[in-house]
Symmetry: C2
Subunit: 332 residues, 2 copies
């Protein structure tokens, strides 16, 4: 077909490779998913179409927290705990780069080298430059590919800046909020919206001198959680103490996640949430394509320059201008 490059595997080769655990083909498929080129998108969707509906079960865990909360170290510790138990783990990092400098907020983050060395682990950072102001990254599609490749736990890392958490909430099963012992009031203030979407809070770096402060913080967070509206009826959000450095509390976090999965599966909410997420993805894709068709329509392209010019000089209002563009799209 047009658009396929030489040596590019066929859809069948991609699908077979991914299902067979071929990490190289999985990586290449994710690159296609993240590409903005229409021919890549077409191929990506053909692959995704065939990868969906596998019977494999997975748990998707979102891990969020502000820079400095130790997310990378925590995720590596959790990943090692799980691979030790024989589970296959994929780690996806959403890294919302600053919209102006295109630089990473995280800076020189840990690369999870120990976990990366494990054959049961797959680690994929996702650069999402301009995400705050622009398009969402393709994390949901990447999750689907990793599940088709047989990864049983998908960990999605986000920086706690608000918007990315809301997005992640629409694609994972469980959200863990990492906090630091004794974080100041201001930081907590900014975190309130994020606290509300957490299914558990882990106070990380609860080691050495910080252990006692962490225990006080635990009580504070437990009180705060009680004041927030329920996220899932019948699920009591816990505050756990962890030290990724010492490996303490990691097992308890995983037990909490498994208890959550069991409770949600019993109540039927698990299936309901996954269904709602697919519905969300359906609409997100439809809206994105709609917008693209709009701006690519010859009539809109033809009208756009003149309408923009009239709007910016003030001879046409943006409201009337928008109507003109829509009329052009409808072919009137």
């Amino acid at each position: 077909m047009s658009g396929r490059q030489r040596h590019e595997p066929t859809v069948e080769e991609f699908v077979e490779g991914i299902r067979g655990g071929n990490r190289h083909l999985l990586s290449r498929a994710i690159t296609l998913v993240e590409s903005s080129r229409p021919e890549h998108e077409r191929l990506a969707h053909q692959i995704l179409d065939r990868c969906l509906g596998s019977e494999r079960t997975s748990i998707r865990v979102g891990v969020t927290g502000s820079p400095g909360a130790g997310k990378s170290t925590f995720i590596e510790a959790l990943g090692l705990h799980l691979t030790d138990a024989g589970k296959r783990v994929a780690v996806l990092a959403i890294d919302p780069s600053s919209s102006r400098s295109k630089g990473s907020i995280l800076g020189d983050k840990s690369r999870m080298e120990k976990l990366a060395a494990r054959p049961e682990a797959f680690i994929r950072p996702t650069a999402t430059s301009g995400f705050l102001g622009g398009a969402a990254p393709r994390t949901h599609e990447t999750i689907l590919l990793c599940e088709a490749a047989g990864y049983e736990v998908i960990i999605v890392e986000t920086v706690g800046v608000g918007q990315s958490e809301i997005v992640v909430n629409s694609m994972v099963d469980f959200i863990l909020l990492l906090m630091l012992p004794g974080s100041g009031d201001e930081l907590q203030g900014i975190k309130r919206g994020i606290m509300e979407i957490a299914d558990a809070i882990a106070i990380n770096k609860a080691d050495g001198d910080r252990r006692r402060i962490a225990e006080i913080s635990k009580g504070d967070f437990e009180s705060a959680l009680r004041l927030l509206p329920e996220k899932h009826p019948g699920w009591e959000r816990k505050v756990l103490l962890t030290s990724a450095l010492e490996g303490a509390g990691i097992g308890e976090v995983w037990e909490n996640i498994e208890a959550f999965a069991a409770a949600m599966r019993r109540s039927g909410e698990w299936r309901e949430q996954r269904r709602e997420q697919l519905r969300h993805l359906l609409h997100a894709i439809a809206e994105e394509r709609l917008k693209r068709e709009f701006y690519n329509a010859p009539a809109v392209k033809a009208a756009k320059a003149q309408v923009e010019q009239q709007v910016v000089v003030g001879s046409l209002s943006p409201f009337t201008g928008a109507l003109k563009l829509l009329e052009a799209f409808r072919g009137k």
Copy 2:
């Protein structure tokens, strides 16, 4: 016309009233702008169409900062400073309510009572429940109405959570970031994306014991700003010390804003930025209406339930499902 309620003023009455400084009609027009009812939107756009293109000049200032930075008190002090100088000031507050509880992050915020009592001031809070995850508020349109009503300085207050700053950056001339003396490293980490869109930083509450810490913070922020990419070539971003409580530094902030306006007007960037903002508004409105037309199209409505059902049970992928919805929209 259909959709107009009894006793609703005509478009002409609205426009004359707004231009004549009638605060009641201005408020009613903003309510129309914020309404999601199509007949209100139609009327609002007719009013806005007629209000645009006035020759009045204005300065639009965005004020951002985390909860606790003293934004309300600062804005009231700045507003009083300006009304004392005979200027007419409008204050619009974007309050991104939490997406789950619909509750305000700010809680019981100061109501700017002194400023509200001034006949030269107009204060309008904007509830934007679900903004983080949903539609943008109508702040840009509200700014245009306030300008038609003769307000010379428009102050837009936002909470420093990331997304709302990016939105505000697309509608104001100048962004002031309020910080606290000696704010911790973590908070600064989260603020980096927001620091990049600031045209000046004010370290607020620089009074009493905090004065000395504030002076150290000033140096830190100045260094940090030098590391960030330029926002406007030829404009050196300043770090100022203010105490809204004592009224200190407020005049200096305003002088800085006026110096910015003068420099940008000289270089032509002022006009360019305003034009770019109108272009942005044009596209935002067009995209929103496009989306609405899509979901309201009878063929899409007819196909939607079945496509959604097939997607959530896994018999159709979201990618193919989206294509089916788009085909329905195109009438295929």
